[in-house]
């Protein structure tokens, strides 16, 4: 086990702060990915949503990890404006519902998996449909394997980030079956899914908070 056994409120806040930073940094790339197979707003959508998340967390400082997730989820659902809003929002809201204090890696992993299941239910998307699920489901699996193998938090999060990045890359040859890109049929092949790309950023952000 890592020296850091439990994840506190500050960790969760830092997660969203870092995610907001990475999305802001990669905003134009995300929007360009969405321009290819969607409506060219994913970067701006998510940048806006995460800016609001950080603002809300600053205005009503959360006392628990659950409060961080609940606040972030609700804000994303309300303030993104695109499909990624209700989808990411549902991940974090459900994760918040499932999380128990104190937050161990095992508890984090189980709650994260519940979040991914909520996303899959809302979007009716499965692995291989060329959506954010293709990054988040492998990330969740990596976390579960890390728990099983007794890997430390830092390494577990890094493995999850790697799995998400690979999952996002793996969407390139796929044909979209959900979301706007699915209207393009075969023309969606050959482009990385923007939601999968942003999901990889969320997981990359997570890897930086386990110090």
């Amino acid at each position: 086990m890592d020296t850091m056994d439990t994840l506190d409120t500050a960790c969760f806040v830092a997660w969203f702060e870092e995610a907001a930073r990475l999305v802001r940094r990669d905003r134009d790339r995300l929007t360009e990915l969405d321009a290819a197979i969607g409506d060219a707003d994913h970067g701006t959508n998510l940048d806006r949503g995460l800016t609001e998340v950080i603002k809300a967390l600053a205005e009503s400082p959360p006392d628990t990890p659950v409060q961080v997730l609940t606040s972030a989820g609700a804000t994303l659902i309300r303030r993104v404006g695109g499909a990624s809003g209700p989808l990411y929002g549902s991940v974090f809201r459900q994760m918040g519902k499932a999380l128990r204090a104190p937050v161990t890696l095992a508890g984090f992993s189980a709650a994260f998996e519940e979040g991914v299941v909520a996303l899959e239910r809302l979007g009716k998307a499965a692995l291989g449909d060329k959506t954010m699920v293709d990054a988040l489901a492998p990330a969740s699996r990596a976390l579960a394997l890390a728990v099983r193998d007794g890997v430390g938090v830092r390494e577990a999060f890094e493995q999850a980030a790697r799995a998400a990045a690979e999952g996002a890359q793996a969407t390139i040859p796929l044909q979209a079956r959900k979301g706007r890109a699915s209207y393009l049929g075969e023309r969606s092949i050959g482009h990385e899914d923007p939601g999968a790309a942003s999901a990889a950023l969320f997981m990359a952000a997570l890897a930086t908070v386990a110090v």
Binding site: I77, G82, L122, R180
Partner: protein, 124 residues
Amino acid sequence: MVGLVLVSHSAGLATEAVALVLGIAGRDPPVAAAGGTDDGRLGTSLDLIEAAVRAVDQGDGVVLVPDLGSSVLTCRLVEEPGRVVVADVPFVEGAIAAAVTAGTGASLADVLAAAEEARAFRKL
């Protein structure tokens, strides 16, 4: 009467669709638009949908008619089985059929069924 909310990515499309629906179904059924984001971009706003639901809710249930994508996903988050339901129907045609049926004082289930029938309706 059952209420109706037309949820589109586009504020203009939602508003114009409501106007056409009322032109056909008459002024009786409560129909509201929830189009675009709360800052006027193309997209969906949960706040606008919730406000529209409140505006048309007379206690007999509300049918949400989304156009696609985030409209559908966001609508699903406000569903309350038996009270607020999402109709997976053609946006314009389903809304017209639902509104006309709502105008007769039909139940939520009947309004939903009428909207679903619009799928099979032939125009030619």
